[in-house]
């Protein structure tokens, strides 16, 4: 267990160092997120009443598309530079690989989401600084990363990776999207645990099931 965790943290540290040196993924993904949020302004002509009902949906569609784009890159560098074989040969448990990559994805997504909060405030006058909203967002992001990391390891090797990842990921992540959007709406309406609680529970249950299941089947994905 300890070995696994240490190996996972090593892989994670490598990804973070790589990102800090190149700053490639974060900025391209963030730019995309801003463009999506900006496009919605013109697609909906948001009025305050409209934002109250579709605001959480806009936020989550922007985030989930950004997540797909970001997760597509998780294994892309490893694939292009052949370093995936190196990782595969490393004498560490397969779960460590999954866990390390998962941590990188969560970090990337949480950073992008946090940096998007001011944009939503400015573009839609939508204040998302709400404890319950943030709790839901963090829990849902873990679930997104749990499923997305697994599927991106599959998609990266295929010819149609840009299509395949969303095709596999979005249907499976539907409960997360429903929970996150509905829970967020409850939270922004000023509901506490009574309104938000069951959605949070659903999302956390999803996280647990898919973290365990994905780390178990990950070795079948990587196997040569």
């Amino acid at each position: 267990m300890r070995e696994t965790l240490r190996a996972a943290l090593t892989i994670y540290a490598k990804d973070v160092r790589l990102e800090l040196r190149t700053r490639e993924t974060l900025f391209s993904v963030l730019a995309f997120a801003f463009v999506v949020a900006f496009i919605f302004t013109f697609a909906f002509e948001p009025s305050p009443q409209l934002i109250a009902s579709i605001g959480p949906g806009i936020v989550w569609v922007a985030w989930i598309f950004t997540a797909v784009l970001g997760m597509n890159r998780t294994f892309l560098l490893e694939h292009e530079r052949g370093t995936l074989d190196g990782l595969r040969l490393a004498p560490v448990p397969r779960e460590a690989l999954y866990l390390g990559k998962l941590l990188s994805v969560v970090t990337l997504l949480v950073t992008v989401e946090a940096l998007m909060l001011p944009a939503f405030l400015v573009l839609y006058d939508l204040s998302l600084f709400n404890v319950w909203f943030i709790a839901i967002a963090l829990a849902a992001t873990v679930g997104i990363a749990a499923v997305g990391t697994l599927f991106s390891a599959i998609a990266v090797h295929t010819r149609a990776r840009e299509v395949l990842l969303p095709m596999l990921f979005l249907p499976v992540a539907l409960p997360l999207l429903i929970g996150a959007v509905t829970g967020a709406r409850e939270a922004l309406d000023g509901e506490g645990w009574d309104g938000v609680g069951r959605w949070l529970q659903l999302i956390v249950a999803f996280d647990v099931v898919f973290l365990v299941l994905s780390s178990l089947v990950f070795e079948y994905v990587l196997e040569e």
């Binding site: 295929t158 149609a160 979005l170 249907p171 659903l202």
Partner: protein, 225 residues
């Protein structure tokens, strides 16, 4: 299953389908409030249950394949996915055609409808993984992973969509049934169930046989090279 068995199964299926058509369109009475469109129900309900069965079969054989690595399981999963996509498509179309005159809308995102739609998409994803995988071996493994992850999402989709709200007719037969059916309707429905399950089995057997032949050809080609 040998060719003779499959031919026999196809013949039985053909006869059952003919009898079923008679029962659906001539024997069963027209429902009073919904009218003729209610006859779609004899297609929709058996097809949807068979589609779910296809998904369960694909998921179970995928687990089996990853554990045992026997090609038999993979062929079974692949055949279920292929036939499942067709059955899901039919279920979704019949459901929509029925819902429009009865509910006034083509589609309602209740738990059953949402789950069906999601499983349909996952099956399409399953077939795409196989089609785009760099080699057949990885295609088999990755599609198995897809089916397993897809199966794990079922309770979550169902619960999320259920809480999210929707309407679907109460179940009319089986455990937890609310209403009751005319006996002719009940007989027709039950016969439809049998027919569609036999049809499903026959289609799976055909696709399975095709996959075995493909594998044999591949082995021969490898042996010749």
């Amino acid at each position: 299953m040998t060719g003779a068995w499959r031919l026999g199964l196809l013949l039985v299926t053909g006869v059952l389908v003919l009898i079923d058509m008679y029962l659906i369109f001539a024997y069963a009475p027209t429902e009073r409030s919904m009218g003729i469109v209610q006859r779609l129900f004899y297609f929709h309900v058996p097809v949807i249950l068979t589609s779910w069965l296809a998904f369960a079969l694909a998921a179970a054989s995928s687990v089996w394949y990853l554990v045992k690595r026997e090609r038999v399981c993979d062929r079974l999963a692949y055949a279920s996915a292929e036939v499942g996509v067709v059955f899901f498509t039919v279920a979704i179309i019949t459901g929509a055609v029925w819902a429009k005159p009865v509910w006034g809308t083509w589609w309602v995102w209740d738990a059953n409808g949402t789950l069906t739609f999601v499983l349909w998409l996952i099956f399409i994803g399953y077939l795409m993984v196989r089609a785009y995988a760099p080699d057949a071996e990885r295609g088999r493994r990755w599609s198995a992973v897809t089916a397993i992850i897809g199966a794990a999402t079922v309770p979550f989709v169902y619960m999320a969509a259920d809480w999210w709200g929707g309407l679907h007719p109460e179940r009319v037969t089986g455990p937890g049934a609310q209403g009751s059916l005319e006996s002719e309707m009940f007989v027709t429905l039950m016969f439809s169930f049998v027919t569609f399950i036999v049809l499903f089995t026959a289609l799976i057997a055909e696709r399975y046989a095709l996959r075995s032949d493909e594998d044999t050809i591949e082995e021969l080609r490898l042996a010749a090279a």
